[in-house]
C-alpha cells in the first residue's frame, strides 16, 4: 500500500491548496510506457461573437427605427421582435443586455480599475443614441425583455393614470439603487432580479423562476409591467425620448381628432386633448405650481435625511457586511448555524477586529450613500410633482414621448393610416360623425 497516510487532515474549509506545501507533494511516478497526460479544457467563445452581437444590435436598431417611423409596419416590427427575442434572448441567453450594462458603466465610472468591455459599452450607448433621435424603438422590438412582454400582452387592461404615474417613479428609484450598488462594487441587482433571464436560460434559481412566472402572468393583463414600473434603463430612455427629433406618430399626416385611437395604447401613452381652462383655474394652477416649486428643496432635504437612516439595510447587500453580521451573531451565540462564508473566514485566520472595522466602514459609507439615494428619490418626486403641477395643452392625439415605446399598436386604429394603407378609401368610412 502507498504511504497514503501522509494525510494532512486540516480543518475543513481551509483553502484547499494550502494543506499541502510544495515540498510535501507525493511525486508523480514515472512510468515505463505511460506518458502523464495533460488535462483538456474547452475553449471559450471567441470574442468575435461579441462583435457579431454589437453588429446585430445596430442592424436591429436601424431596422426597428425604419419599420416604426418610415414603413410604419406593425407586422414587420413583430417579426423583428420575435427575431430579437430568439437571438438576444434564447440564443445569447440574455447577457449582456443594455439594461444590465448600466451597472457596468456605473462601476467603470466609479472604479478606474474596472475597464468596461467595448461590446458592453456599445450595448449601453447605441439604444440611448437611437432614442435621443427616434424615440424608444429599442424597447419596441430589440430589447429581449421588451420583446417578451410585447408578445405576452394578449389582454392588456388600462392602468388608471394616477397609478401609472406614481408607479412610474419606481424605475427611477431602482435606477438610483442599482447605480449605487454597482458603483460601490456591492452587487449587480438588475441582473440578480432580471425577470426573464431564467426563461432565456431554461432554468435557474427557484425564487427567480417564480418571480419570472409572476411577471409573465401580469404581462398578459397589464401591458409591459417590467418596462413601465421597474426597468431602470427604460427610465433613462423615457427621459431621452422626450427630446427625440423624429418620434413615431399615430397619424401619418394630419390628426383629425376622430378619437378612435383613444384606447388603442395598452401602455397608457395616448392622452386625450385637454379642455381649455378658466382664468380662475389658471391662476389656481399657477399658485399650486409655485407652491410645489417652493416645497421641492424641502422634499429633497427631508428624503436625504431619511436616506441616512437606511444605511443598515442598504449595507446588508455588501458581502463584507453580511459576513460580519453573520460572524457577529455567531460570536454572540444568537445563531447556532455557521455559514460556509463564516467558516471560510475563520479559517483564513484573519482577525475579527479587521472584519468588523471593514464592515463598520462600509456601513458608514452607506450612511452617505443612503443620503444621496434619499436625495435622488426626493429629486425624482419633486420633479414629478412639478411636472404634474404644470398644465400642458393638447389639441390633438399624439403619443406621449416618454411613455411611448414605438410599438405601433395604435396604427390600425387610425383611419388616416388605413387610408394610407389602402384598406379604406376614405376616412368617413370609419368616422361617422367628425368630432366637433
Amino acid at each position: 500500500m502507498k504511504p497514503c497516510v501522509r494525510m494532512l487532515i486540516a480543518g475543513l474549509l481551509v483553502p484547499l491548496s494550502t494543506t499541502t506545501a510544495a515540498a510535501e507533494l507525493i511525486p508523480t511516478p514515472s512510468f515505463s510506457d505511460h506518458a502523464i497526460p495533460t488535462a483538456e479544457v474547452p475553449h471559450a467563445d471567441p470574442s468575435s461573437w461579441q462583435a457579431l452581437d454589437v453588429g446585430l444590435l445596430t442592424i436591429a436598431l436601424v431596422l426597428a427605427t425604419y419599420l416604426a417611423l418610415v414603413r410604419r409596419s406593425r407586422r414587420g416590427m413583430l417579426v423583428l421582435t420575435v427575431a430579437c427575442l430568439v437571438w438576444f434572448g434564447f440564443v445569447r441567453h440574455g447577457c449582456v443586455c443594455s439594461i444590465g450594462s448600466l451597472q457596468n458603466v456605473a462601476l467603470a465610472c466609479a472604479q478606474s480599475a474596472y475597464a468596461v468591455p467595448w461590446s458592453v459599452l456599445a450595448f449601453f450607448a447605441l439604444p440611448l443614441i437611437f432614442t435621443l433621435f427616434f424615440g424608444r424603438t429599442f424597447c419596441a422590438s430589440v430589447c429581449p425583455l421588451g420583446a417578451m412582454q410585447e408578445l405576452l400582452a394578449v389582454r392588456p387592461h388600462p392602468v388608471p393614470r394616477w397609478l401609472d404615474q406614481s408607479l412610474g417613479l419606481v424605475p427611477f428609484f431602482y435606477l438610483g439603487a442599482a447605480m449605487v450598488f454597482a458603483a460601490t462594487g456591492t452587487a449587480f441587482i438588475i441582473c440578480r432580479y432580471d425577470p426573464f433571464v431564467a426563461f432565456f436560460r431554461l432554468g435557474g434559481n427557484a425564487n427567480i423562476l417564480v418571480f419570472s412566472a409572476c411577471v409573465a402572468i401580469v404581462a398578459v393583463f397589464v401591458g409591459r409591467p417590467y418596462c413601465r414600473y421597474l426597468c431602470p434603463y427604460g427610465a433613462v430612455l423615457g427621459l431621452l425620448s422626450r427630446v427625440a427629433r423624429w418620434h413615431l406618430r399615430i397619424v401619418p399626416g394630419e390628426c383629425i381628432t376622430c378619437r378612435l385611437c383613444e384606447e388603442a395604447c395598452p401602455y397608457g401613452a395616448i392622452h386625450p386633448p385637454t379642455v381649455p381652462q378658466t382664468p380662475q383655474q389658471r391662476a389656481r394652477g399657477k399658485k399650486a405650481l409655485l407652491g410645489t416649486l417652493a416645497a421641492a428643496p424641502l422634499i429633497v432635504a427631508v428624503l436625504a435625511w431619511l436616506g441616512t437612516w437606511w444605511a443598515v439595510p442598504l449595507s446588508r447587500f455588501h458581502p463584507t457586511v453580511r459576513l460580519a453580521q453573520q460572524v457577529q451573531q455567531e460570536e454572540a451565540g444568537e445563531t447556532i448555524q455557521t455559514t460556509y462564508a463564516s467558516d471560510a473566514f475563520r479559517n483564513t485566520g484573519q482577525g475579527l477586529a479587521r472584519l468588523y472595522d471593514e464592515a463598520i466602514a462600509q456601513q458608514q459609507r452607506f450612511v452617505r450613500i443612503g443620503g444621496w439615494l434619499g436625495a435622488w428619490m426626493g429629486l425624482v418626486l419633486a420633479v414629478k410633482l412639478i411636472h404634474l403641477a404644470v398644465r400642458r395643452r393638447r389639441t390633438d392625439y399624439h403619443p406621449e414621448q416618454a411613455g411611448c415605446v414605438s410599438c405601433g399598436r395604435c396604427f390600425t386604429s387610425c383611419p388616416v393610416e388605413l387610408v394610407r394603407l389602402g384598406l379604406i378609401r376614405d376616412v368617413s368610412e370609419m368616422v361617422k360623425e367628425p368630432a366637433a
Binding site: L12, L202, P313, E330, Q337
Partner: protein, 612 residues
Amino acid sequence: MRWTLTYPTLVRSAYVAGLFSLVVAVLMVLDFAGRGKLELFDTPEYLALRAELRERPADEETRQTLRALDLHLREQYFRNRRFLAVGMYLLLGGVTLTFVFARWAAAQRPHAYLPGPVDTSRDRERVEQRAAAWAAAGVVGVLAMTLGVVALRIAPIAPPTTLTLASDTIPPAPLPPAGKSDGQPAAAPASATDAAPAAAAPTDAALPGYEVYRTQWPRFRGPTGSGVARFDEIPTTWNGPAGEGIGWKAAVPLPGNNSPLVWERRVLLSGATADEQAVFCFDTETGELVWRHDLPPTRPEAGELEVMEATGYAAPTTATDGVRVYAIFPTGDLVAVSLDGQRAWHKYLGLPKNSYGHASSLATHEDLVIVQLDQATAQAGLSRLLAVRGATGEIAWEVPRPVPASWASPLVVDQDGRWMIITAVNPWIIAYAPADGSELWRAKCLGGEVGPSPVYVDGVVYAANEMGGFAAVRADGTGDVTDTHILWTTDIDVPDIVSPLVTDQFVVLVAHGMLGCFDRAAGGPEADPTVPRDPLWEEDLLAEISSSPSQVGDLVYVFSEEGKAWILRPTREACERVAELELGEAVKASPAFQPGRIYVRGEKHLYCIGKP
C-alpha cells in the same frame, strides 16, 4: 393564401396549448419540489444504509441493497435533469403556441372602439394629475417607511467593544505574556474597556489554588479523577419516580454522555446534537438553568462527522479551573466559558478522526487545559496531547503521539511532588510532565480501543481495557518501565468503558454489570506480575452499566442504564448490598458529589439527590 380560422377555434386551440403548458409546468414543479435538496447521497435512506454498512461491514445483503439504491439514485438524478431540460423545451413550446393562438384570436376580433361623447365640462386632466401627485408622494412614502422600518429592525454591526468577543485570532491585548504564566501572577489589565470582556478574560491571578480545587468536583470523577468523594452526609436512600430524596430535577436542553461538574453554586455540563453544542450551568440550590452558552459547531461537511449513537455528540466531560469551564466536542471545537457564561475563547482543533466520536474528557493543571486528542491509527500520526493556556487559548505545548484513537481521559496527579499527566492508550500508559509535555515514563500494558480512564492512588496507576487487560503500575519510574514497574495484572472482569474504582483495600472493576473485586496490594517480590490475578469475589448486578462507580467512605455507588442504583459495601469475602435504589432514568454519566448531595445526569434530566 390566407388562413382562415374562426375565433372559437383559435380560442380553443389557445386553451388546449395553455392546458398542455400548465400540465408540463405542474409536472416540473412537482419534480423540482420532490427533488428538493435531497439529491443523490443526501437521501436519508441512503445515509441510513451507509451507516448500517459501517456498523456491520460484513453484511452482504446491506451492501447489495446499498449498491442497488446507489444505482437507482444516480439514474433518477440524471433522469430528473433530463426531464427538466426536456420539460423546459416542452413548456417553452406550449407557452409559445398558447400565445400565438391567443394573439391570433385577439386579432380576429379587433376591439371595436367607439368613442363616447366628450364631456367638456369635466376637467379630467386636472383630477388625474392631482390624484397622480398624491399617489406619487404615497409611493415614495411607502418606500421610505419600509426601508425605515427594516432599518430599525436590523441591528447594525457594532464596534467590537460591545461584543462578547473573542476568537483565537484576536490577540487579547491585555492578557499576560505567555512566558510569565508559570506561577507568576500577571498584572490585571490596565484598562478594562480595552479588554473587551474584562469579566470573561480574567488573569491567572484569579485562579483558585489547589486547596480550593480539591474541595470541588472540577473534572471527570472528581478532583483526583478517581471517583472518590470525601464529603459528609452523602444520601444513602432516594426514589426517583416517587421524588423521595430528590432535591431537584432539571431538564437538560441537549443530550450528552458527559458527567456533571460542581463548582461552588454551579453544576456544569455540556450537551450537543449534530447541529447544536452548548455548555450549561445550573444552580446547585434551585436547579435553575443559570446560563447556557451556545457554540455553533464548526461545520464538518455533511456526513463527515459521524459519531456512534452510543457516544453522542457530547461525550467528553468538561473541566473547570474555578474561573472558566472548558468544553470539547467531537467536532474538534474547544471552548472556554467564564463561570458567568461569557465566552473567553474558542479554538477549532480540526475534526478528530475518530470512528466512534471523540470522548476523552478534559483536565486542567494550574493555568493549562490538557487535551488528549488521539485519533485514527498509530500510522496516521495524528494523535497528540495538547496543553492549552486557559486564559488565552494559545497552545502552550503540543506533543505528537504515535498511538491510535483512544477514549480514555487524561489524569493530572502529584506523585510525591512530581506532577504528571497520565494517559492510557493502546498499548501504553504514558506519563508526561505538565510543564513542557516531555515524556516521563511509559508502560506497555494495554490493548484494543481504550475506553476506561486510568486512576492514580498512592503512587500507583491503575488502568484497564477489555482487550489488553488490567494493570497496576508504579508511577515513580522513568523511561520504559514495562518490565520493572508493573505490580500486578488481571484479565478477568476487565471493563471496556467503565473506569476502575480503587478503594483503600480493593480494586473494583465493572464489566457489563459484572463487578469484580480484587485485592489492591502488590504481590510479594517473587510474584510474577504477568500471571493474571483472580478476583476476591464477583457480583452480577444483572444490569448494563456505563457510569463509573464512586466511593463514599466505605460505600460504593453504582448507577445503571436501567435507572437503578446500588450502594454496596465490599469486604474481602463478599459484596454486601446496602441498598438498591431507583432513579427512574437511564444513567450513563458518572455522578458528581458535594457535601450532602449527589448530582446525576440522566438521559434527559439532571438530578440533585439530597437536601435541596
